[in-house]
Symmetry: C2
Subunit: 359 residues, 2 copies
């Protein structure tokens, strides 16, 4: 298993100890103030409307990221902190909520350089600031040792008096829309896993790697979608087809994606596709970790800024809402009326999305 390489002169977490490490990390955790921040058994966070949303996600070395990739890119602590913040903030966003706090649990091999952990703290702070989570406190956490590096964050958010936007609210006739890029993080992953040296990649390809290493969830868009009347929403973390399938299953509907609406996404990844031999539409349909939003809006409702139509919600296994004779949908998620699984199989025989256990 790869280790974070020690800096030439720098101390390791084992050398510094828990209290010393905390003293290095805490001053780097910028963010909004909590009612009570790090240093006690728990933080205290405001919940002005008498409710809060809460979610938790873990990133594990060699499973969710590699410290050293085949193309030579070395994942920094900053990357891991940013990605952990981003994936958790995205879950809050997908409920239509505004993030209020992150608490962080770090599992660190004893030989991890202190500088790497400082960089991790900087990554959390930078993500919160850059992504616009300006009400989000970095409110505390926990340190422990382990043989592999893992970071878990729990995020909380405020619904600001609104109802949560759940997965199960999509209705036949709704417009299916996305906010954010599709497939960029998967293209970045393919570049990281390719033998093409990172040092020789162009700006555009490096930007795709950055989308994998430091995702950019559109944090203003979740609450805006809620205000605009979104009936169902989720975070695009595991791939469009798979996440659309989750919305379909939870809502008891079918979803038809429009290939024409995805052409632009695939076109933007053409160069990376050519470089790696992957059809870009495969990334668009099945690539995870973009952390955009997938939402269903009532028919005819104007889409909020940043959202674009990519399909339609239909009756599960039934007639299309347009009417008689238009036929039954052959699968819960289709592309232009044909099962999405067929499109994916044609594109590379790859299953949709990603299963942590390969099941």
């Amino acid at each position: 298993m790869a280790e974070v390489r020690p800096a030439a002169e720098g101390p390791t977490v084992a050398g510094l100890g828990e209290a010393g490490l905390l003293a290095r990390i805490l001053p780097r955790l910028a963010g909004a103030p909590a009612l009570l921040g790090p240093g006690d058994d728990a933080a205290v966070v405001a919940a002005p409307d008498g409710r809060f949303v809460v979610s938790v996600d873990t990133l594990v070395q060699d499973q969710d990221f590699r410290l050293e990739w085949p193309n030579g890119y070395r994942t920094t602590g900053f990357d891991v902190g940013w990605k952990s913040a981003a994936q958790n903030l995205s879950d809050i966003n997908a409920m239509g909520a505004v993030a209020t706090a992150l608490v962080i649990s770090l599992t660190l091999p004893a030989r991890t350089p202190v500088a790497w952990v400082e960089s991790l703290a900087d990554g959390y702070s930078a993500a919160v600031r850059t992504l616009g989570a300006d009400r989000c406190a970095l409110a505390g956490g926990d340190l422990g040792a382990g043989s592999e590096l893992a970071v878990t964050a729990a995020a909380t958010g405020s619904l600001e008096g609104r109802a949560a936007v759940v997965r199960s609210g999509a209705r036949p006739g709704d417009t299916l829309a996305v906010c954010g890029v599709l497939g960029a993080a998967a293209a970045g992953l393919a570049l990281l896993e390719s033998p093409l040296p990172y040092a020789r990649l162009g700006e555009a390809e490096r930007a795709l790697v950055a989308r994998q290493a430091r995702p950019l969830p559109p944090l203003a868009a979740g609450p805006q979608a809620a205000l605009a009347g979104a009936r169902a929403m989720l975070d695009l973390s595991d791939g469009l087809v798979r996440d659309a399938g989750r919305m379909a299953a939870a809502s008891g509907v079918a979803i038809d994606l429009e290939a024409a609406a995805l052409e632009g996404d695939a076109g933007a990844l053409a160069a990376a596709g050519a470089a790696t031999g992957v059809p870009p539409l495969l990334w668009v349909l099945s690539g995870g970790e973009d952390h955009g939003l997938l939402a269903a809006f009532p028919p005819g409702a104007p889409l909020p800024h940043g959202f674009r139509r990519i399909g339609t919600v239909l009756e599960a296994g039934g007639l299309e809402p347009g009417g008689l004779g238009s036929g039954r949908l052959p699968a819960p998620v289709c592309v232009d009326g044909r099962p999405a699984a067929e499109a994916l199989a044609r594109l590379r025989g790859q299953r949709p999305g990603y299963d942590h256990f390969g099941g």
Copy 2:
């Protein structure tokens, strides 16, 4: 590294896949209902007084527990789920709050038996029920793979309109009190790590092992202490001397423990001490993971049910409140006026408490 041994016929998490595993776990997660429970990107939890407390803690295989101990005891999924719940609920308790939700992130080696994970879910549910966290929802979580087994839980709680009881509020003259046992979990750990076969232990020794495997935080006591005017409080997770040191540092005070008040705790561990060759007072002063409460109450205030006096809060480095001539305390934490570190050194040359990185 030890693995959870597969059951004779049972499937592994890799065989079942993520969705299948979730379908097995979710029905086992009992607890109070959340406003919105598992199945969406985040749960929704009530925060009636417009605030909540939040904390996060991780347990890692071979660091925080062993799957197989030297004495032959095999840690069950039930144990790990219980312990994860207990240590997180204890953090909420230590703020004077009532637990409202747990969200759980599991990192599972692919070969982990599904039955072990089902047992883990049962352990969370049983802990919440048995410990009296009857307002606590098991509200959701996250599944992922990794080479070592790790569980992280984030806990939230309600202060019910009260101020949080922090570490920094102790004042000279306050009564220092504890609720819960001292040293039992450490004695259990010593038994687990000893060559004495678990199968041959008596009931009393097995009960100590159980306190290590399935701690019993006194969840009613935290809110009661807050109501009784506790000025400072924390969770006894890392050992009495170390945790008292944290209260002393945060409050800018010194703490004098009374050896006579700890004799009963040590006496209760005499048999385990004789069996393992450890002076029981060492466990009482430095053993972690009991998850009782350490609190400072105003002078003369009646202690709430379950708390007992074990010492006094004094001025940091200054005169004892009793007055002139009584001398300066030689260390932030003392036992009968002498540095606690001396007592610990005498008992075994062991540093107080536990540092995750050995620093």
